[in-house]
Symmetry: C4
Subunit: 255 residues, 4 copies
């Protein structure tokens, strides 16, 4: 048995991250995408209706594979000295990755053994979590997160500035348009809906200012929005520039 | 008393800006956010209506704390040699920070002792100023402002170019669509509303060109808008790149 | 004949890519643009209607020139040692460029000898392929593609993140707004339409949330959208920065 | 007289571009802004109506000053050895700057001596040209233009790619939605309006796809639009990065 265990361990957790995935991991990745796709389709009555049994079958299939995957991982993880033995297994079970794996299994039981409508809805949403299992396979994702993390304080600050400007613009608009359109601008919380749609340049157009002063303030907010969008973009661009430059320097040093 | 004064001074103005805030400053920051939140909610009649007394109480509470804070700061600032003595206190009172502190207290008195509807509205808006008190706590904000400031002339110029293109696009649209839609494009000031919504890519869609030539000009404006948005974003990105590169160099020199 | 062949070969494929195009290539480039323009106009009944014969004539003209071009290229390519002889010609015929050339001729025959409405529609679309012939003339395009290619994995990853956030936002919105607006948010696939319009900040406004919780989630999605847009922009900016820096270094080395 | 001429020449064309403008140039800059403002207001009947005489007066005033400025410039330019003498003056008159100066005067005569409605409209538009006179005063503008110029070929190429994708998306949408919405997607030129509004992420929402396939293609176009917007932004950011880096190096060399 230890032979099978260590062989499987290497298949699940290749020692040196290779260029391409191991066949097992590629299969599991494909399964995650397929499962998410099925979860999405299951919410559309016109698709599920005539194919109820196909979807029930697919649900059971995904559940079985993910449950088996969970227990096999729990078994083979023993090859990792950090998680060997019973206590090691307990330590593994509470790692974020194992929790995500568990959370993406649980909903299957709800769907299978419950008739509560609300629980079913929540369970369905929870199954989207399986997408988070992806992060296991992606080394690029980790590098990506590092870049964003290295400038976290600047990005959070620019989010804070956006929120402050949003509040200010909504407060001004509430004063200016509140009397003309009490439904849409009658209070700051109401004006926030207009504010966020304008500052992010989404612009649904369901709420627009009617007074001249309101239009002027709205135009100023839109221009400010462009400037605010420039901030996170600029920070991310600079962070990637830095990372790429560091990579290049390391390559020079290696030669 | 001097012992308490200098102890409080250190709590309010830590000598070496530490990684995390002092408990006092963290408490005051939380209070500013809570106060802004209450000001925002107070404008919504459906929320204030049934809880009138709660909000009056909260208003008084915030007023008391901010008034006490103001006078305590005025007292302890004497430990700073620049602001010690009566003349030093006067010098402190006119610093931007002290003015902001004062301005965020004044509205409480208006709300408490006035029945004038218009004054109340303005007072409410003024209380949003307390958000500006935040800048005191944020060293990152200062660095941020430095980055933007270092490229101020380029950013102002790109704003100027945006305004010039906005004027030009509106003038062209006024000529092209003015006859078909006199309400929306009957003069350049009216066409400006369309112009700012299109150039900033917000696109509410409440005003759209109807003629073929108008649609063509509108499309050209939208594409120009994308180009114009690229300018501030590019400038900010380059400014952050420069700042990050300078930081790295300084780190190298320190080693 | 070999003299004409090699002369034509040089006209079609100048040895050293010069600053400006050879007159022959400039003529062919102009023809591609003209042909695309005619294809676009041909779909508008109010333009084709009164000028049917002009467009038939233009179609024949473009067909003749492109067919002649194809066979002349096939002949002169023999001067290239890689494609000389009959087997070399076969090898040339399956190169992407030759396939594009062929694909942009084929539709003419469909249009000429078929009355099938559906085939005609498809054929018309296929003729747009002639635009891809352009890439032959553009050395800058190749450099451009290199820049994008060098950061392909980062760009694909950011596309993946956008799709994952899109799925998540749509799933949340389906739970939140699904009961209030079953037509627009009654399933995740339906909510995706709202999601993509909001995350990309296009914001048509044909589908907007009506509940307060829905508006809150929509605002959060719009702000997340701005952050997500910052990622590809930042990556592209960093990639171009790197390329421009490398170019400058090479120029220094040359001196 | 030569004394006055050379004194005025120095006022108009300061030898070393100083930090701040000369008083004369500051006055002329202010006049250009005021004139543009008046031109904009003049198109709004509700503003001009009751103040007809004020605007006629202002028009005359601006006309006089700009005409005097033109002839004074023509006189003092003789101090520049390149433009001295009668032939030098002729050479000056055809420089872009002198042509812009002349073009911004001409409309005054049309407005004064013509009753033709169409001519008046065009004349009004022409007077916006006075804004272009600004470029004379702005050294920063020149630096700005240099940055954009240095990456002109990349920016033009990205514009070309945007136009090609726009054409392709419109062609696909014409095939997909043309039958369902002949008014909006019945031909490629009609679909272009949808295309440009979606690719630039403006999103008026006056034209939206109704079929499922159409919505899918529209979503893909919107995502592609975000990617396309990243290109010019990235190029501009990289160009500014390069320029700022070069500036810094020059400063190092100067020390």
């Amino acid at each position: 048995m230890p032979g099978i265990q260590s062989t499987l361990y290497e298949k699940f957790y290749p020692a040196v991250p290779p260029r391409s995935m191991s066949p097992l991991n590629a299969f599991l990745s494909g399964l995650i995408i397929a499962c998410s796709f099925v979860v999405v389709l299951e919410t559309e009555p016109t698709i599920v209706g005539p194919n109820q049994q196909v979807f029930v079958l697919l649900d059971c299939l995904f559940a079985c594979v993910f449950i088996i995957e969970y227990f096999v991982r729990l078994w083979v993880i023993g090859c990792d000295p950090r998680y060997s033995g019973f206590l090691g297994r307990l330590k593994y079970v509470v790692t974020p990755m194992a929790v995500i794996d568990l959370l993406s299994i649980v909903p299957f039981f709800f769907v299978a053994f419950s008739n509560n409508f609300f629980l079913l809805r929540v369970a369905r949403l929870f199954r989207m979590i399986s997408l988070a299992k992806f992060s296991r396979y992606s080394r690029a994702m980790t590098e990506f997160a590092d870049v964003i993390n290295s400038r976290k304080s600047e990005l959070l600050l620019s989010l804070g500035i956006v929120l402050a400007v949003l509040l200010l613009a909504s407060a001004v608009m509430y004063e200016v348009e509140g009397v003309a359109q009490p439904e849409a601008f009658g209070s700051i919380p109401r004006a926030l809906w207009w504010g966020v749609m304008t500052l992010t340049t989404v612009g649904y157009g369901d709420v627009t200012p009617h007074t001249i002063l309101g239009k002027f303030c709205c135009g100023a907010t839109a221009i400010a929005g462009v400037g605010l969008i420039a901030m996170p973009t600029g920070i991310v661009a600079a962070a990637f520039s830095e990372t790429f430059a560091r990579m290049r320097e390391q390559n020079f040093d290696d030669e």
